[in-house]
Amino acid sequence: MRGRPLLFTSYEADQALMPTTTKKVALTVFLVALVLVPVYDVIPFAPDFLAKDDWLKVLTNVMIFAIGALGLNILTGLAGQVSLGHAFFMGLGAYTAAALGAPEGPLVGLGLPMWIWLPAAAVVPALVGVLVGPTAVRVRGLYLAIVTLGLVFIGEYLFRNTESWTGGSQAGRTFPRFQFRFWKEEEPLVDFSRKGEWFGIELSNEAKTYILLLGFAIVATLIAKNIQRTRVGRAFQAIRDRDIAAEVMGVDEFRYKLLAFGISSAFAGVSGALLASFVGRTIPERWDLLLSVQFIAIILIGGAGTVTGTLMGALFVIALPRVVQDFTAWLSDKIDAGEGIIAKVGDVFIATSGDDFGIVNTLPGTGPGLSVFQLNLVIYGLLIIVFLIFEPLGLYGIWLRVRNYWKGWPFTY
């Protein structure tokens, strides 16, 4: 219907993923823009810094964390079960991938191709999730958080002590690379871990990996969105909002909580496997509480219960450290140059030499003030508090408000 985008004449149109033309166009443009990021340096007016390998790595990390966060969003955002155990399931996925996909060597590794190790990295954590689930789903709220917190520590202990699988504490192990093979042939069909030419464009390995993971993130987003809008997603939300009413509607609370646990763990496992493979070498201590907290931060800052919000949260939380780092570096350059008001104000915040006072210390080694890493933690914490108090729908809530403002513009509603 021209001019009446919200007048639907079929239930199919009413329930479509992208019900309006505006949404379809916007999404297509956005996706094309994402795919083209690695060649921004040759496209006029594009933000060319994004095409640099180190920024591509940041964006690739965003994709990986987005996949994991979409899983946690299903468990915490939709089904309302707060879990701090996400890192454990990520580790489980990573080591499943390593055991199956890493080349044979001193550590367990079968050298199987990616189409085996990646699905396995989803299935194994999901099964473990469903196995430990019954203990967890009996408790709710803070108690569940504590139970899943225990899972992280048990997991870390296990990972540190199963050296033939994980390489053990401090040493770690290597993980399978992003290579497509039929079976164990020498030359991979498609190799994302080596630079080369695609369709006449010379791409670095970072660029190729980015495109691969962008693809995975898109698939994960579609699955998460479909889960949310179909029968199972409504059952999850019903349990979150009113568990007794949900049961009286015929939703088997126990079964669906367990299912939420399983699905969330599968997403976590894939995310963990991809993260480990992307980094290449990882120690067991990587799968710690801090990682879980990062995921909580993503969905709370982004907007719990919304897929779009989760993606925004992943971009925000993962890109933030890099932005802070770039910003402090830029500021200390200004201070060193010693000119202007920026230098004066910045000097209060940043310590550039040993005896200089500053809230943030950019110098290597110890000194007074926070390191850039610690500053990030402080910012996460502050943001979680601020969003919980002022905007429970997170970045997505802000986006909704901006969108609704412009929808009605110039009227206020």
């Binding site: 479909n226 409504r234 059952a235 939300q237 007794i244 009413a245 049961e247 009286v248 088997d252």
Partner: protein, 274 residues
Amino acid sequence: MTELASRTETHTPTGTTHLLEVDDIRLSFKGVKAIDGVSFHVDEGELFAIIGPNGAGKTSIFNSINQLYRPQQGDIRWKGRSLMGLKPNKTAELGIARTFQNIALFPHMTVVENILTGRHIRMKTSWVAGALWVGPAKREEIANRAKVEDIIDFLEIEQWRKHPVGMLPYGVQKRVELGRALAMEPELLLLDEPVAGMNLEETEDMARFILDIQDELGIAMILVEHDMGLVMDIADRVMVVDFGRKIAEGTPDVVQKNPDVIKAYLGEEFEGAE
């Protein structure tokens, strides 16, 4: 279902089988007797009302039928089969729907989504099919969306279709909750104070919907309500409970004249003073 089948054998229904039979149930919470031996039955298509002062155990009876509470004694039979010991979601699958005294909608979901949740037991495709949005799951979602529209039309809540229910006015929320229960296509509907806190117009609207449900959809209902005018006007039979015991049962005009009922509602005349 095998579990159910074996249960039926232990109970030999006497004479004709009623839709729902509650047989001398007793429920107590650590010495507080919430239900103290209540029996009644509901037949198909019947509008049965339960009234009684606050704390008489009306909602506890509902919770027992849903198996949210487990009565320590007695039996509740659905078409001759015992419901005792089933999970609450199984009672829903058997055809018992319910609304709550304090609205228990899912506040973050829209009206359509809430009523679609009521369709849960009528939908069959697995979550995997849903996650991939493949043929059968997609068709089922769309077919059930159409069913939801019938209910929205029936309850005249078209204008609130896409609103999150948490933001809707109280009277509308009550209607949405009724719609969610109707979406289950139940054979018995438990209505817990459907007009509590409503003004006259809203009450009459709701009464009209209740009568329409009885006439057009033929669903049996148990109505718990404090609005005596409404109960006496629309109920086929009324049961009066007080302190967990049944004190009267019968057609509205019979119950109204019962001295025990008058005593329970108006108190006893002090006779000791001559």
